[in-house]
């Protein structure tokens, strides 16, 4: 029982860490692309 519980705690921190990692990478990518679009692509179009 204790082994399984410790395993589930491992799943908890690894799971939350992975979700945050993916979400933060996606967020940064979107923000980066929006910055790139606003500062480079749009100005080039103008």
């Amino acid at each position: 029982m204790l082994d399984k519980f410790l395993l589930s705690l491992g799943i908890m921190w690894k799971g939350m860490f992975s979700i945050f990692l993916v979400i933060i990478v996606i967020t940064l990518l979107i923000m980066g692309f929006q910055w790139f679009e606003k500062n480079l692509l749009d100005k080039k179009d103008e």
Binding site: S8, G10, M16, F20, I23, V25, F33, E37
Partner: protein, 378 residues
């Protein structure tokens, strides 16, 4: 005349209980309007599969031998063998979602991640209550607030409790307007609920709308390959919507495909609501654990918003964190309703919708990550 009464006389008490469960689900669907597209087929299916010697499931009849039943066949081919039905539904869901509010305010993405906390907490609680790790993980996924994800994960993990998990997932999604305000009030003060957030939308180009589903699929796939079927089908549906050249396919995915699969999914899942599998004390425990998952998802999102506020000049209304669960759009509506109840001029809907669609991504991601971790750890 005995042959006419043989069905009636062979009804068991657990089957009678399942008829009541079926009637209850149909009542909730019709009278209360709780997720009727799923609870009604599930309720009717619960009655159908629990009729003695029901022809919708495989039977061995004296003098005839084995007969095949349509619901068992649908379950075995559409869910058990391929997980096709829940996955196909994701194409429709992806085609329905407008990620615009999220893309114009990407910081809202984080709340989707935080509001998956209930999943992992519930896994630990289920383990403490004596459930096997596979079953515990399947029960925890009820907190994804996403019926197809719950069905898919519990099926892949070969959980013994797919029926109760599906019922809990869809029931609590319908009960979000009751569950979330309670959980939000538990961890916020009136002053916090009154925080105003100006909405300054940034225009989102078509280019970003197209890149977004492709990028999300690739990033999720690299980190959690098991999530690719879930995230990939969701994002494929969204790409159909946003590409601008496949209007008829996008319409078909949003309407025909989603409706057809929803119709079949509800009645197919009822196969796992046979009395012998459903009428157990574990079902009641699973229903309680589902509630725990929803409450702690909400609390996780709200507390994360409060944590972020420690570092921000422009404070975020912590209720926005609660909208990070996947129940779309109910959760965003709950936050909006609560905010205007506190202050009729404080409109948080667009922020909440941003967090809510992020929850859609994060919940399927959580499903894939749980599968990934279990296959690595077991």
């Amino acid at each position: 005349m005995n042959f006419l009464l043989s069905g009636l006389t062979s009804v068991t008490v657990p089957q009678l209980i399942m008829y009541l469960v079926g009637f209850l689900l149909i009542y909730l669907a019709i009278k209360k309007g709780y997720e009727p597209s799923l609870l009604l087929p599930m309720g009717f299916g619960a009655i159908l599969v629990n009729l003695p010697l029901s022809g919708v499931i495989d039977q061995t009849l004296p003098g005839i031998g084995n007969t095949h039943g349509i619901i068992q066949w649908l379950f075995e081919s559409g869910i058990e063998a391929s997980e096709a039905l829940p996955l196909l539904l994701f194409i429709g869901i992806g085609a329905m979602i407008d990620f615009g509010p999220l893309l114009s305010n990407p910081i809202m993405m984080l709340f989707g991640a935080a509001a998956q906390f209930g999943i992992f907490l519930t896994i630990s609680v289920a383990v403490l209550l004596g459930f096997d790790l596979r079953d515990a993980a399947s029960i925890g996924i009820i907190g994804a607030a996403d019926g197809p994800t719950s069905i898919l994960v519990s099926q892949i993990l070969k959980s013994n409790y797919i029926g109760p998990i599906a019922v809990a997932a869809y029931s609590y999604m319908a009960l979000v307007p009751l569950v979330q305000p309670f959980a939000i009030r538990l961890v916020t003060t009136k002053k916090e609920r009154l925080i105003r957030m100006p909405y300054n939308p940034v225009s989102v180009s078509k280019r970003i709308r197209i890149i977004f589903p492709i990028a999300v699929t690739m990033i999720a796939g690299f980190v959690a390959p098991q999530s690719v079927s879930l995230v990939g089908f969701l994002m494929f549906g969204n790409l159909l919507r946003e590409c601008g050249v496949l209007h008829s396919l996008s319409d078909a995915a949003q309407n025909i495909l989603a409706n057809l699969v929803t119709l079949l999914l509800g009645i197919t899942v009822s196969f796992s609501m046979r009395a012998e599998a459903f009428v157990t004390w574990q079902t009641l425990v699973i229903l309680v654990l589902g509630l725990v998952a929803f409450v702690f998802d909400t609390i996780g999102g709200v507390l994360f918003a409060k944590f972020i506020n420690l570092f921000r000049k422009n404070k975020i209304n912590p209720m926005i964190g609660a909208a990070g669960i996947s129940a779309f759009p109910m959760s965003a509506r709950v936050v909006q309703k609560m905010s205007i109840k506190e202050d009729p001029t404080n409109h948080l809907l667009m922020h909440a919708i941003g967090a809510n669609v992020s929850g859609q991504i994060a919940s399927v991601l959580a499903g894939g990550i749980v599968l990934n971790l279990l296959t690595t750890l077991l």
